[in-house]
Point group: C2
Chain length 411, copies 2
């Protein structure tokens, strides 16, 4: 066995900082224009000004009667009803003094009219000659009806040229609604980070194949794909490489220009067949160890400017490494909230290992306390699936009692 | 103007309860089988048992040497190295007493071997005859190396037939990972609720068209589409109906069998041209008023067994009505967390209206207090877009001071 070069060791914070620095360029992914109906959860790249006044025109806030405020006298006013304006395309004639017009919510208020009286405050009469009048009673709230009552002025929500949305907004339904309301059909958003996922290992077979002794189903491709999407990025390529450095190098060539970031699993520890290590080393990458468990072996580098973050191959290590080092960066770019990392109380005593930050797979109980649900082995994928929190035990802590405070990361 | 029948009035809770009861059947949408790589955020319909033991076979947790515990004596043991087992398909011969075999992480532990000694605790020598031996030093943690140390037993994570995932789990990356690890390629999930979105109004034009005076861009189709998807359902149909009851009835016929739920906006208030009211009334639906602002007019009914929830047409009313009445039900079906509804402190004094629960569009300030960001008008789509909370003012409260407690719904 060739003895590998002594690996350098880093703290979790050092490696997280190195990953963030390497990904710094990735966060500026440029801009693309997408239809608003495909823009949910995307992030505006620039501020969006309104091309129009909103409302587009002066309209009624109520079903009722449009009148001139000057015609309203005392508690009751009787006015002739000269027509009706529905909420539809129309260019109404000016309202003559001493008259009123029926009006629907959202309909154009005719020139001259400056108050809408709600239908609930009115009573219509038709005389023997067929002349229709309306008796307008007192305003429900009491007092005078001020000019503008129940009239929505053009531009009173937003004026043409004013900002509808700032840059950096993660588009939810209410944001898309205001774009539609202003007649906007497409919006400039940040391009999603395009990620390639490369799993390595001669022992891996795809789920659905039939493994022989020594073979294991590859779960890292599935796990990283779902995790990348959940962090707001997109999976632009996915591949599995057996332990052959030339194949991996050729793949990196293919990925250049197609993706912003390459994530790998496996091939970076101290064994002989470590394809990612064999490729990253000559590229000037860092291959070493981070003081954490699971997930000790870690590496990073770049190929022709494309950052490569390399995780260990054990499934729990891969998933946890993504959550610790890469997910926070991707979530920030995507405008997503970070995972909750809050203090919690241990339900049971736990032991840890010296010099390593331990991430125990755990569960939050009914009483709010947290407890481990599986052993520390980095192959325990079912244990991780059964967890809903990670319980973080600091590097210098070897034993904790029930009731002690820990940090809990919600999964 | 025909005087509409006096509408019945409900509290917010009464209508919410009626909507939930009407949607009760919708929540049982049946089951579909989807590939695991398309199953993220879906909810398992049944418990998933493991078809295999995990790990699939007895394997090494370390790069190192597989040995027999019985051969280890004292602080140092020298053993002959008889071969190497990599992590790849292999059916290794039993390990003879007094020998060791190099082994990689994840590789098959040969029959007979019951301990793995990490490479860091070993030193290899080759004598002049080319015979290789390894000197195994003391265990790093001190003490004896127990049988099973650094050996992952077959089935130690989960045994064939045991539950991998329970029913009702919203599938995140760690859940999909354990399915993949067990070789599972598809999973039975609850079918998403299929929603039809029907906006009504003769005044509406699509964004991108050129409105004439009296016309307004339809924002409700866009808003409800994004909101339905965000609540974990899918938009199976989307239509806009001008104010014609026959057209709407024909559409309901088309939608029958295609969707689980129909949402409409507009056409339920007291005006003359109220297409949804005209259709729901003869169908025995409820059309009335809910003690809230915005969103007073509300309606519900069913057509050939398909529930119809009808919102008022003002954009803010539509969006808010969805959030108050329908989103909680859809989120529950989809296994999504409910929106946060927490106590907050007012930054400024506010006034409200008697007898109606008011939902003010607001913003959470740097100091954690909340303040309104726009007026109460239900047409203020830009105001809603600029909000990040809804400030809830109870029905019986007319005035609140700065510092008073309110409920704040995070948007």
């Amino acid at each position: 066995m060739t003895t590998p070069a002594p690996t350098s060791r880093k703290t979790v914070e050092q490696h997280a900082s190195d990953v963030a620095a390497l990904l710094d360029e990735v966060t500026d992914t440029g801009v693309e224009r997408v239809p608003i109906d495909e823009a949910a959860a995307r992030v505006t790249a620039v501020a969006v000004p309104s091309p129009v006044d909103l409302p587009l025109f002066r309209n009624s806030q109520m079903d009722g009667f449009a009148v001139r405020a000057a015609d309203l006298t005392g508690d009751e006013t009787r006015l002739r009803v000269v027509g009706e304006i529905a909420a539809r395309p129309i260019d109404p004639a000016p309202l003559e003094p001493g008259t009123s017009v029926r009006i629907m919510t959202g309909a154009v208020v005719p020139p001259g009219a400056d108050v809408v009286v709600p239908v609930e405050e009115s009573e219509v009469e038709t005389d023997q000659d067929g002349v229709e009048t309306v008796l307008l009673g007192p305003a429900r709230g009491g007092g005078e009806r001020a000019v503008g009552l129940f009239v929505r002025e053009r531009g009173s929500d937003v004026r043409a040229g004013e900002e509808l949305l700032p840059a950096g907004v993660r588009l939810a339904s209410r944001h898309l609604a205001v774009l539609a309301a202003a007649g906007i059909t497409t919006v400039e958003v940040r391009r999603r980070v395009r990620v390639a996922i490369v799993t390595t290992g001669a022992e891996l077979v795809e789920p659905g194949e039939t493994p022989t002794l020594g073979q294991t189903f590859d779960s890292n491709g599935t796990a990283l794909t779902a995790a990348v999407v959940a962090a707001g990025a997109e999976v632009a390529a996915r591949a599995r490489v057996v332990d052959d450095a030339d194949v991996l190098l050729a793949l990196l060539d293919d990925l250049h220009g197609e993706v912003d970031l390459i994530l790998t699993s496996g091939g970076i520890s101290m064994g002989e067949h470590e394809v990612v290590r064999d490729v990253l080393g000559p590229l000037g990458g860092w291959i070493g160890s981070v003081a954490m468990q699971p997930g000790g072996p870690q590496a990073l580098g770049a190929y022709r400017g494309v950052p490569i973050i390399a995780f260990p191959g054990n499934p729990v290590s891969t998933q946890l490494s993504f959550e610790v080092f890469v997910a926070p960066v991707l979530r920030r770019v995507a405008g997503l909230p970070q995972a909750s990392r809050v203090p919690a109380e241990l339900a049971v005593a736990v032991r840890s290992v010296p010099g390593k930050r331990q991430f125990l797979r755990g569960r939050r109980r009914g009483d709010g306390r947290v407890e481990p649900v599986a052993g520390p082995g980095s192959h325990l994928v079912a244990g991780l699936a059964a967890s809903d929190v990670l319980i973080v035990i600091p590097e210098d802590t070897l034993e904790l009692d029930a009731g002690d405070a820990v940090e809990a990361w919600t999964l």
